[in-house]
Symmetry: C2
Subunit: 562 residues, 2 copies
């Protein structure tokens, strides 16, 4: 490699040619891509990296437990590691220092690396465990997993998260990921130490051994990484708190780097209703995808293909589609040409097909949303709405909204928006999110709240929004914000409006009550004077005066009630 | 494949086991991943898909021309294609219909596919052309390109864009991408028709032939796709307009689907200063990356490694680093163990190394930013600021800001923010962008503007922000918004403040002038009366009265000027 040019002046332009440009063309490995674009995965700052690592591991634990029908018990532990292990007191000191950032001096020019904090993140569950052969690829290969190809609500969906966390750990500390796992079929556990080959995107097994483990089944992941433990709105603490709210069936133990232990007990004794896998819906399929499905199907004829590769297509619907397309039901899927596929597409679009089944979804439900809000917030009014399922690009999804208002909530701030997707709290990138957009563009003034143009409503209000889907379209791989599909924004807005109308009734009633009270106060103040005046004018005695005052007060009370 | 379950009630939970879950684990191809996550690439709606396709192709054309030192001439053409080709008048009719969306009826339940619009997008340039062997992979393979591994400001950087556009075209229309290219060395052009194998992420060449082409060198891409041609803020028209503003050296011809032709002539006769490739800066390298570089280097010893694989490391600095780390300069890079690498990391952090060279950047410059704003907007005041280069994660970057205020700009709206990254206009996802955040969190009231909490400032203001970097950290692969790296947000804010102070001076002066004018008006109104009063009191004649009025008016004028 030639020496780096270190010019003090800009050298003359050296024009590239087609040939010199061709020489620089190279394949980019997926791991290299995400290393450079780590913010896409949620690793752009040490604080976020710690949060994301825990989130990805907890997501996997909960998904695995639920899929196996096990009530989840999850342990999250963050151990400070360092040149001379940092103890709880030192972590406290760092936290205090960070609260006053001016105490932290950095060299000018933004080039000096600050001394790093290191943590070991441990997430352990009582799930079904992982079959030995699968461990290396699940934890050591990006784009590998079981949920990507399955249409069903789950927290993970991309096959990236946990491997990316391991990759980030390796990148910042050079340490392998440690996995201990045991399935119900095994007598002992197995323990892996894994690295990731960044060029090939393949796992490198450094250790693979049997080990004793007290759990009958479950998985434990340990990742050492450069991170930053912070408190506040975007912290691990808040994430786990909100996870407990949206997942009342989980028992969660959290050992923070400060050295304390926090236990979130189980608030619901049952698992949420199971989400079932569905086939794709014909309306969500595009030409290119249809071409590929026709090529790959094991079905021998077009009727079979339509009936068994899609949901909601019975024999009648299949016949109708094929008749409209002018294609023989017995025709082989593999031998359809492009023109025929286009006719099939048009015929699907022209045929009435019921919406996809929605048992692939598992919403939280209005009752549990309400309970969660009431438990966490001291509001004077709460309401919740679960919308019926809807569809975007063939994917079923469902929106839930909860509102908490008044009481002990801060009255002078902008409303707080709590965002959830498939029961996972979303803490970052609020303003990029379809949920935020829907809240922003809703007219909150009509409910009696204040709202500046282009801003969130202000007042003592917390807005809870949950979107459940077989495929939540996130704006990036880090799954922090929901993309602006118009169907999704519309459903969120409808849910907000439905809940908003309840809020409006409450606020109006409160305003009316306040006004009535004010009026009553006025009149009450004057009634004794009226009594005195009447006594003087009509020469009444003290008893009659008291009676008149009582009658007037009574009339006032009754008129107010009407 | 089993028949799809279509239950009317939710079936009982079938618990998965570790084994049944293992059976479903699969590798996910990068093309499958992006097909499902197409919104990450900017293809979530037909309108955006059309925009993104043109943007990716134009980015490539401009990059190639500039790299080859050619003044770019780019043709962009959007041809309506259809069942019975749609003509200009029909496109106009669609546009009108879309302006009144209630005219468009959709079936309830969001499941009915709407009749699609199809377009052929053509982008042609006078660039250096592409060497024949490279064409298939550049246009038919995701994550392949020349810019990813090179630290230099360019529009493209990921090796995804144009292949993704072709993939989207193929997915929605089943049609191949057509490429015609000719290099200066070739007598004739060559013409390709390409498809993308979605499972393997590899190009499939359908046609590869020589052809006649009148251009001496250049490239032409044709992609047929389902899209939607719209006008307004996010339109292709606006994108091309803004591209012309940020790239005054480009001659752009645009044939819209309406059938008209728009020519943006060249406003600057010279190419921007060339951006030079640099080596990575030691402060931007992490442990994992350093480990890998040590393994892959061709250098035989650590001194050579430090000097030739990084920028800003001369013999002295290299010696100093190695001494601090306690490593022999002659040691082989390949034989350093993890502990030694950690010491090397710490030594780098402890050594003072100059900031990376900044000739890898090519900002627009204050003069051209000002010229662009003045040409496009009828403002009464404009100002521009180009900040000195700064560094995030070892990557040099530079921020430019322009402000236009008053005059013909709409006074009642929120300010308009024009965002650019490496000279490319960013039209979507404004609220996800670090630029937006910096504008939002800046205190515009102190400059005399109105601003609600959590909202953009309001008033007759246009804010132009350009960030130039060797690696712009976008929030997603579609490159629509800049990620919130603190160093970047800080630099944008500093630039806004610098420009804001200029604006403040202008607004204050205007307010003062207005008040003085008001005062002057008052006094002017009373001067004749004072004259009359003095005449009556002092028994002056008409001449003396006129003289007094003139003196008073003159005094007033002079006092106002002070």
């Amino acid at each position: 490699m030639p020496a780096a040019a270190k010019p003090s002046r800009r050298p003359p332009r050296v024009a590239a040619t087609a040939q010199s440009m061709a020489d620089k063309q190279r394949e980019i490995s997926i791991s290299e891509f995400f290393t450079k674009n780590r913010h896409l995965l949620g690793f752009d700052s040490p604080a976020k990296a710690l949060m994301t690592t825990i989130k990805e591991a907890v997501d996997n634990s909960l998904d695995a437990c639920e899929e196996a029908g096990i009530l989840p018990e999850v342990l999250v532990e963050i151990q400070p590691v360092g040149n001379g292990k940092r103890n709880g007191a030192e972590v406290e000191a760092i936290l205090e220092l960070e609260a006053e950032p001016e105490k932290l001096s950095r060299r000018k020019g933004a080039v000096a690396p600050v001394k790093e904090e290191r943590y070991r993140v441990i997430v352990e569950d009582n799930g079904p465990g992982i079959v030995r052969q699968q461990v290396p690829r699940i934890f050591g290969k990006l784009l590998y997993g079981s949920k990507f190809h399955s249409l069903r609500q789950s927290r993970g969906q991309q096959g990236i998260g946990i491997s990316a966390a391991g990759m980030y750990g390796q990148l910042t500390t050079g340490k392998p990921v440690v996995i201990v796992s045991r399935t119900a079929q095994q007598d002992r556990g197995h323990r892996f130490e894994l690295m990731l080959d960044m060029k090939k995107n393949e796992p490198v097994v450094q250790k693979d051994e049997e080990c004793d483990w007290e759990r009958p089944h479950g998985t434990r992941v340990e990742i050492e990484l450069t991170g930053s433990y912070k408190r506040g709105q975007h912290s691990v603490d808040v994430y786990l708190q909100q996870t407990a709210v949206a997942n009342p069936h989980v028992r969660l133990v959290y050992r923070s780097p400060r050295g304390d232990e926090m236990i979130y007990p189980r608030a619901a004794a049952e698992l949420p209703v199971a989400a079932h896998e569905i086939q794709p819906h014909p309306y969500g399929v595009e030409l290119g995808m249809l071409l590929r499905m026709l090529k790959e199907t094991k079905q021998r004829n077009l009727t079979g293909f339509l009936r068994h590769e899609f949901c909601r297509v019975g024999p009648k619907t299949a016949d109708q589609i094929l008749e409209t397309a002018g294609l023989a039901p017995t025709k082989s899927p593999r031998h359809t040409d492009q023109d025929e596929v286009q006719r099939l597409m048009d015929a699907i679009a022209a045929t009435k097909i019921p919406s996809p089944p929605t048992d692939c979804l598992s919403p939280i439900g209005e009752a549990l949303v309400l309970a969660g809000l009431k438990q966490r917030l001291e509001a004077e009014f709460t309401t919740a709405v679960t919308r019926p399922p809807s569809v975007y690009r063939g994917n079923p999804f469902q929106v839930e909204v909860g509102l908490a208002y008044g009481g002990g909530l801060p009255a002078d701030d902008l409303a707080q928006v709590l965002r959830f997707a498939n029961r996972v709290p979303l803490l970052y990138q609020a303003s990029a999110c379809a949920i935020h957009k829907a809240v922003l563009t809703n007219n909150w003034r009509s409910y009696g709240l204040q709202q500046s143009r282009g801003a969130l409503p202000s007042g003592p209000l917390v807005i809870f929004v949950h979107i459940a889907s077989v495929w939540v379209p996130f704006t990036s791989e880090s799954k922090e914000a929901v993309a602006h599909y118009p169907e999704i924004v519309k459903e969120i807005r409808l849910a907000l409006q439905e809940a908003g109308r309840q809020l409006q009734i409450h606020i109006r009633r409160r305003v009316r009550e306040r006004e009535a009270l004010k009026k009553q106060g006025y009149i009450q103040k004057y009634i004794p004077h009226i009594g005195d005046a009447l006594r003087d004018m009509l020469h009444l005695d003290e008893g009659e005066r008291t009676e008149i005052i009582a009658t007037l007060t009574d009339t006032l009370e009754r008129s107010r009630k009407i």
